[in-house]
Amino acid sequence: MQTTRPTDSAEQPTPLLQTLAGSEQAAALSQKNAALADESASRRRWKRAVIVLPILCVGLLIALVLATTIGSVPISAAEIVKMTLNSTGLFHFRRTWGDADEIIIFQLRLPHVIGAALVGAALAVGGVLFQGLLRNPLADPYLIGISAGSGLGITIGFALPASLLFFGFGQIAAFAFVGAIVAVVLVYWLARVGGRTPVVSLLLAGMVVTALMNAIQALLLYLYPGLQLRLRSVIGWLWGGIAVQDWGQVGTAALLILSGILLALSFSSTLNALALGEEGATYLGVNVERQKTLLIAVASLLTAAAVTIAGLVGFVGLVVPHALRLVIGPGHRLLLPASALGGALFLVIADLLARSLIAPSELPLGVLTALVGGPFFLYLLRRSGRDYRW
């Protein structure tokens, strides 16, 4: 019988095991050579990580100072550094600047620049959280309805005549925050089926809520005469731009965003496990449904806080994590802090460009980030067909 041969050979267990081990050794050797030739990816990543975090820190500091110097009134970087150090009370440099300069720096530019850094960090970390949660490197912090919710909130804020203050924020900012949170809660509630929140229903509910809120927003803009007069302001918010008036607002945003980032760091292990899918993460001991709820809450809070002081700034949450993944790999223990720093750096520079490119006029910040992010997004899409498995 011709079928006897394969079974015959399978009937000599020890030689087979040896040949297998032998061939594996041979394969291992050739692989080792190959690995030595192009240096192992993990070692390369480790080396880069050691360099990348300090580079990002230094880069962010330089960008902060640079962004503060540039403006309608030129003030030198050295003066700004001295001014800042003097204000701590530990240093006493000789004053070569006037009181007006000090007011410009401390009351106008520094809150603005630090606000930009906070928004960038929040959006990038929010992006990492959503990408890890949805297992999709193309996910965006606005994906599950936040942009539409805050957009609607902003529109309603402009439609209301009264000018109210909430926790030191104007009603536009407050409505942006509330709109974002309402949208996420609505999406989460819609997506929840029998104690579980499947990713697909999360995305679908996100699309539905986005469409619905966009429609209501369009309807308001179309029918409400008061809004048509203020269309320029509305668009200003929708296209994004750092809008902080005082340190109180920066402080509140910083409290939300910094604690959000700290919480996010504690999810690195969970996010790594989720890269294997929800089932895989369950087998690794992750309580997937609970962690998912917490992740959505933290990511939404970060994004909503960013929206409150900057309107809708797109693509930061997409571009920054992805670029960093290419450099230091997808491990979230490094990716999360690196994204926070990288996002801050990216947005401080983008904000600087938005303010200075067509000075004295300003470009909307969201337009600038989209101009950079759009082409990058296309590049990711084209790459994803080759390198990523869904």
């Binding site: 019988m1 079928t3 006897t4 079974t7 015959d8 399978a10 009937e11 087979l16 095991l17 297998l20 081990a21 594996e24 394969a27 291992a28 050797l29 692989q31 080792k32 690995a35 240096e39 192992s40 990816a41 993990s42 070692r43 990543r45 297992r135 999709n136 490197p137 760091l265 504690s266 999810f267 690195s268 292990s269 969970t270 790594n272 496990a273 890269a275 294997l276 899918g277 089932e279 895989g280 369950t282 087998y283 690794l284 001991g285 992750v286 309580n287 993944r325 790999g329 997808p330 491990g331 223990r333 390198d387 990523y388 498995r389 869904w390």
Partner: protein, 452 residues
């Protein structure tokens, strides 16, 4: 004393209202290496998922070392049970080392800081699966066989007591199929890791797994390959004729798909004496008919059975083996419509077998129907296995110990016993075991056939 690691206790599960399987019992002892076999869509992977605790049974429970999986934290479970799923993929470009490191998730803090013990476990897992040289490579760029070994390494890094593998040889070429199974066997023998795998390839399963569980919406057979891989069982479960034998010079069973000639042969019923299919009705319940049903099924004798209450231990098996099952609501006495269905079945039958079930007011009506049929000259066979409690029992029908046994399970104040006595006087024969019952059955059917 064998140490039970994982126990599935009367598991019922279904994705819809209709259960996929019901009342499944299965125990895995520490050190077992068992394969779950069966056709597609009969619940193999689902059963494996229930064993992981990722799915929860609708009824019954899964016990890990005596604790209900439902009540254990996921982290605790993940330190004992590792799973290698059928598809193992990630959208992100993790290196092999990073991915295997995820196996330490149930041991590390929420920050995921690796300690020396973690690093050692990862190194060992990489070594044991032969992927140490791949540690620095990007996982998504590996071949299928390499990926499967990385998935195994990740599971090993969890240092599990029980390793669950879902189709570990799917999508692999022969070399890697053998490699993965050799590795599983090695882990089982050298490290005592209990292994439970779903398998499609019967030959590979027979070759590597000392325990095979044939599953088709319930456990059809459970034992070493020689017991589980019987032609009749496989033909029934997979619905194709197969040939089983030991190939020239080999030690293990081999299963061959049908050749075109054997397929033709199969279309002609192949049981030795060409006799018409007997129509048999069985009265049982409470597990008393289980062995008989398996015997009849293995002899390819179609039978009807009933009435059985839903949830009765005979009911689940009957649904797989019997040609017709007459069912009654759980824990309810036999209703008159149900009794009519039994009467109809008995009218069509050529013989009836009454199993040694407990006699209570609920099922007394069945015995009355049996007596009625027997008095209308339907051959009746009473299955009365001689138990250890009555060692002196002989085959004589009027043996008082047979009647004593019947009396002992009669909870109707002698009414049941009276019917049995009447049955015997109407010509019912007593069979001591299932083969004897089947012999009596064939004789009765042949004579009645001749008589007609």
């Amino acid at each position: 004393m064998v140490n039970t690691l994982l126990q599935l206790e009367s598991i019922t599960f279904g994705y819809t209202d209709q259960p996929l399987f019901a009342g499944v019992n299965l125990a895995l002892a520490a050190g077992d290496m068992a394969a779950l076999l069966g056709p597609n869509g009969t619940g193999k992977t689902t059963l494996l998922m229930l064993a992981t605790g990722a799915l929860h049974p609708q009824r019954g429970r899964v016990m890990l070392n005596g604790h209900d999986l439902r009540s254990l934290p996921r982290r605790t479970i993940a330190r004992q049970i590792a799973v290698v799923p059928q598809t193992f993929a990630t959208p992100f470009a993790f290196t092999v080392r990073e991915l295997v490191g995820l196996g330490r998730t149930p041991y590390t803090s929420f920050l995921g800081t690796e300690k020396a013990a973690d690093r050692q476990a990862i190194e060992e897992a990489l070594e044991a699966t032969g992927v140490a040289a791949l540690a620095g490579r990007i996982f998504n760029e590996l071949s299928g066989g390499e990926k499967q070994r990385v998935a195994l390494a990740l599971a090993l890094a969890q240092q599990p007591k029980l390793l669950l593998l879902d189709e570990p040889t799917a999508h692999l070429d022969l070399k890697y199929q053998i490699g993965v199974l050799e590795l599983a066997q090695h882990l089982n023998r050298e490290r005592g890791i209990t292994i439970f795998a779903t398998m499609h390839d019967l030959n590979l399963a027979a070759r590597y797994f000392p325990r095979l569980i044939l599953f088709q919406r319930g456990i059809v057979a459970d034992g070493p390959p020689v017991e589980a891989l019987q032609g009749r069982l496989l033909r029934r479960v997979y619905e194709v004729p197969v040939e089983i034998g030991i190939l020239h010079g080999a030690e293990h069973l081999s299963i061959l798909p049908p050749t075109s000639s054997s397929r033709e042969q199969h279309t002609v019923p192949e049981h030795e004496p060409k006799q018409p299919h007997p129509a048999i009705h069985v009265i049982g319940g409470g597990g008393s008919a289980a062995i008989l049903m398996r015997g009849l099924a293995d002899a390819d004798i179609p039978f009807s059975i009933g009435a059985l209450n839903l949830g009765d231990s005979d009911h689940a098996l009957a649904q797989r083996l019997a040609a017709e099952v007459i069912s009654e609501q759980p824990y309810a006495p036999i209703a008159s419509e149900t009794a009519e269905r039994v009467r109809a079945a008995l009218r069509q039958a050529q013989a009836q077998i009454i199993c040694p079930t407990l006699i209570g007011p609920g099922n007394l009506v069945l015995l009355r129907l049996a007596l009625e049929a027997a008095q209308e000259k339907l051959p009746a066979i009473l299955l009365e296995p001689s138990s250890a409690a009555f060692p002196e029992s002989t085959h004589l029908p009027e043996n008082p110990s047979t009647l004593a046994r019947i009396a002992a399970r009669d909870y109707t104040n002698g009414e049941g016993l009276a019917i049995y006595t009447a049955l015997l006087s109407a010509g019912a024969q007593i069979a001591k075991d299932v083969p004897a019952a089947i012999d009596l059955l064939r004789a009765a059917v042949n004579s009645s056939h001749v008589a007609r």
